[in-house]
Amino acid sequence: MAQVQQAERPAEPERRRAASSSSEGVTASAGGARHWDDQPQRVVAAKVSTVHRVREIWAARELLGFLIRKELKVRYKSSFLGFLWSFLNPAMVLMIYFVVFRFIEHTTVQNFAIYLFCGLLPWNLFNTALLSSAGTLVANAGIVKKVAFPREVLALAQVGVAGCYFLFQTCILVLFLVGFRVMPDWKYLPVLLLAVVVDLVFSAALAVALSALNVYMRDIEHLIQVVLVALFFAEPIVYPFSLVGKRLADHHLVWLFLANPLTSMVLAFQRCIYGNVAGAVKPLNPGALPVIATYSGMFYLELLGVVLLGSLVLLYLAMLIFRRVEGNFAEEL
């Protein structure tokens, strides 16, 4: 029988060399030999604490940036108008509502286009974030199944994309304001900024929860579309606040209207941007009602503060739900 010696096998690992020819840059960053005690220890277990998870998501913020950029690049990649669509789409929606309510409903609201735009801005942010995040885990099944990263980032990226569109639309609004010679009520700028933050947190909370649940109940993706259409009319976006406010006030039910988190954001936007338009706060003719809500700045801040707290609690719950169902994503997709 043949006598065969064992082939050389790497036995004693040498200490890692400072740099090898092709991975020079990388190893250099590690600074040569590594000390294992310095290495962070990662734990994969059934239960992970929220703090730990938040830290992981924070560590993945660069990834979040890449995902948002990817989404912006890819979405309109093969279309003729390309990136223009992100401007055209909301502009056309705005036009449709404008035509319907100005010429068919004969609304008496001054500068109706601006009024519409104020309400549509926070709504569009919420709407696009939810619509695209609900299906994002399913759409990205390839990564979810094969790569380990905090998957909440996928849902958050959709919120981020919606935030980018929000910024584009804000640019158009500025053009509108210049065109119509409308000056926002700068006193209420803090209210507006707070509303943007609240909008982002609220959208993120629902986006994270819905994206996770949609993996198990794929209807959510479709159901959410209908729900959002209905929800659109629950805020005074296409109709003046006074229309509903007056009637509800008679029954002491305004709080019901304000309990809708989105209403508080819409009202804040309107108060800041539309506040200086004639008839917005002070009625044009006696007997008429102001178009928008006429609460004090403090009231807006308090209302939004409450919604923000609620949204944060919601976000915490959403992350709990997400983590609870996350363990089996790779299997369910």
Partner: protein, 422 residues
């Protein structure tokens, strides 16, 4: 030595549903009584991987080896237990997972590396190295959807190895690209080993394990059967698991032969198809085959031991000018040996026995398939063939690695200063 990976009492349960209810309506209708049964893919796995070690996880399909790897990678979460990892981890579960076809190779490198946990600064630094490794300098700004599948996996591998992982998880993905690139991948893996990085390889191919690993864990039905040096572990795997329910005794033989393959293409041996495939002509029928060895007391051969494949033929009318062919295949489909006796012989009507005698089978660890043919000299017409005619399992008590047991002797001769043997 500190351990890089500690797997502690890890169990993973999968719910298997007879009918999966994924819609809301069905969920409500069947709330709480969805027919399912629990399947434990992993049961109380305990495993420690030391720093700088290369460990193989060996198991059959469905044994749970990939589930274990996915748990370590953090893609799946264990139902019970925990896994502690020290250091940066890169998992090659699927090369190029998450590549966006619409984006350029450049954008995909950044996105993918960032998915694997690399910072933008580090990607920028090793960007050129990644592109050079993938050999995609020309196409890096093209959309990935125009890439060939080879380019795709090359880029995937290049990104994964350049993440500079302390722990690398590999799931049967080394068989990518052409032979030259595979070699490059193996070289990179060996470099990683020399650099003292920890590598976990999952495979069902024992040969790969033998070549790469310091230790092998054999896993079956979600439990670790044995952990140890590759040789004994692979032997356990072969004996206990692979050969279970696989025996070559009396081979079933098909009665009516189809049209015999008379094309000249028969001269080129085809890879061994399984299960048994018999094609007999009208005049020659193979009625049985068996493996005869001189070993007693064990089922497997050692390298270099003799073996014979004995085949029974039933011939309906006397044939002139018949030759015999024989081929030996490795389990991965590689042809090791093909032979045509070439000498025309007379095959009388009635029962004949043909013995294919190997004086020595100088092969190393593995299961080898022997196929035989009754044919014209040169293989123009095949009268009958049997695939497989026998399976030879070689178990190497020595330490050599590879396919062939080459008769090597190493001699050391100290020399005197005068150049004479001391």
């Amino acid at each position: 030595m500190p351990s890089a990976i500690e797997v502690h009492e890890v169990s993973k349960r999968f719910r298997l549903y007879q009918e999966k209810y994924t819609s809301l309506k069905e969920r409500i209708l069947h709330a709480g009584r969805v027919p399912h049964h629990d399947f434990w893919a992993l049961k109380d796995i305990e495993l420690e991987v030391a720093e700088g070690e290369t460990i193989g996880i060996l198991g059959r399909n469905g044994s749970g080896k990939s589930t274990l790897l996915k748990c370590v990678a953090g893609v799946l979460k264990p139902t019970k237990g925990e896994i502690r990892l020290r250091g940066q981890l890169a998992a090659m579960l699927e090369l190029g997972a998450g590549f966006q076809p619409e984006l350029s190779g450049r954008d995909n490198i950044f996105l993918n590396a960032s998915l694997l946990g690399m910072s933008r600064r580090d990607v920028a630094k090793s960007f050129d190295a990644i592109v050079a490794f993938a050999e995609l300098e020309e196409f890096i700004d093209n959309q990935v959807r125009f890439y060939s599948s080879g380019m795709y996996v090359r880029l995937g591998f290049a990104v994964a190895v350049n993440v500079d992982p302390d722990i690398l998880l590999v799931d049967e993905v080394l068989a990518v690209g052409d032979e030259r690139f595979q070699q490059k991948c193996m070289e990179r893996i060996h470099l990683f080993q020399r650099e003292g990085r920890t590598i976990v390889v999952v495979s069902h191919a024992p040969d790969v394990m033998r070549q790469m690993c310091n230790r092998v864990a054999v896993i079956n039905s979600g439990q670790i059967v044995t952990v140890g040096p590759p040789g004994p572990a692979i032997r356990t795997f072969r004996e206990a698991l692979l050969d279970a329910g696989e025996s070559i005794g009396s081979t079933p033989v098909l009665d009516e032969a189809e049209e015999q393959a008379a094309s000249s293409a028969e001269a080129i041996p085809s890879p061994p198809p399984l299960p048994t495939q018999v094609s007999s002509g009208r005049r020659v029928r193979i009625t049985g085959s068996r493996l005869e060895t001189s070993v007693t007391g064990r089922s497997n051969l050692h390298p270099g031991e003799p073996a014979s494949v004995v085949v029974d033929l039933e011939v309906s009318e006397t044939l002139e000018g018949v030759a015999f062919g024989c081929s030996v295949w490795a389990s991965n489909g590689a042809l090791i040996f093909d032979y045509d006796s070439g000498v025309p012989e007379r095959l009388p009507a009635g029962h004949s026995v043909v013995t294919f005698r190997f004086d020595s089978v100088p092969l190393l660890d593995g299961a080898y398939t022997v196929n035989i043919r009754v044919q014209d000299p040169g293989g123009g017409t095949v009268h009958a063939r049997l695939e497989p005619a026998a399976k030879i399992v070689i178990e190497n008590p020595g330490t050599a690695v590879g396919i062939a047991a080459l008769p090597l002797h190493v001699e050391l001769t100290p020399m005197t200063p005068g150049g004479q043997p001391a």
